[in-house]
Subunit: 196 residues, 2 copies
DNA sequence: GTCTATAGCCTGATAGAC
DNA sequence: GTCTATCAGGCTATAGAC
């Protein structure tokens, strides 16, 4: 079972949009096989079972997604710049990659222990490690971990609720605009942290 | 097909924790039937199919959940009090009712159009209608709809991420405490809105 | 309203030829 | 590595007796 053959990668990449759209149980091995262009039985040459295919796909999707943050943060000199850079990173990462966000959301609602650990290992821990010191320095009156999830939640919830925001009064198309979201969240956090 | 028989209600109430925990596809008609104490076939005397059972269960869960907000808000005189009251309401509603929150989360990630409309009709619209004027009055520099979802997201994300927060450094058990969350979010919003 | 029995379909997974 | 063929089991939904 070669770990990085072309078909192996093709399977992972074909399965990701399916899992993101329909969830683990909503995707059949046949569906993945059809998308790749092989039969379901052939999948078992690359993965022992459905669950391990799913895990490898998740890792493949999340890895290297966080890599850019460290460099970007290094270029920001003062706290306010770092704040803006971090919010922009978070909006960019999960705003443009619909599949990544859907997978993350699904894993968070399913609450399976092993998958949560994968999420922490590949997404939240690396990011938090990068900005932990920053969170501590920002404002002494806020708990750093709560502050981190507050900022993450501010961004994520705008994306999570995007489909139903459209059905509410006061909706404007610009609410879906990434720059508007960055601006809104940044203004809010600058006020909350007293960084005027 | 009597609409409010005892069994009818028992089916709805038995199905809700199952759907919340395992999702629509993760629950079999047999599972619901077993919990109620009847057979799967008997369910079809009350609901034409699985999907309509699910819809009725969702409506049953969400209805009357929002009723308390209007009265609570009426007692709050100034903006700062209203802000606190609203955040407390949001934390109380979704913090204590694990099933309600799980259902809401699942529907938001699944993105099915008909179910999203149900969510808007039974949860977000009634709540937003109640505090729309308040949102407008709070701060002119913020878009009212974005502000609403920011406040909702600040609260919800702390619950959504609770299972993985435990796996991160700097975690303290008090992070799961409702009062702590209310305090954190309120302080943050007071700063952001300039309500000192 | 509930039961038993079952139809008809889809599921993950395996065996063995090529 | 991929195929065809196949399996056992689970699923929703229906038919008909009580």
């Amino acid at each position: 079972m070669p770990k990085q053959s072309k078909t192996y990668i093709k399977i992972l990449e074909a399965s990701l949009p399916l899992f993101a759209a329909f969830g683990y149980k909503g995707v059949a091995m046949r569906d993945i096989a059809n998308t790749v262009g092989i039969t379901a039985a052939a999948l078992y040459n690359h993965f022992p079972n459905k669950e391990s295919l799913y895990f490898k796909a998740l890792e493949y999707a999340f890895d290297a997604q966080v890599a850019g943050l460290a460099e970007t943060l290094a270029n920001a000199k003062n706290p306010r710049q770092r704040l803006t850079v971090f919010i922009e990173f978070w909006v960019e990462t999960f705003g443009s990659d619909v599949i990544l966000r859907a997978l993350l959301q699904r894993e968070m609602t399913d609450g399976d222990e092993a998958r949560l650990k994968l999420l922490v290992r590949h997404v939240f821990f690396p990011v938090y490690e990068e900005i932990e010191g920053f969170m501590h320095s920002l404002a002494e009156r806020y708990d750093p971990l709560l502050l981190f999830f507050s900022m993450a939640g501010l961004v994520m919830y705008h994306f999570e609720t995007a489909p139903l925001r459209r059905l509410l009064p006061d909706f404007k198309p610009e609410h879906d605009n990434h720059e508007k979201i960055v601006e809104h969240v940044t203004t809010l956090m600058i006020g909350a942290l007293g960084l005027h």
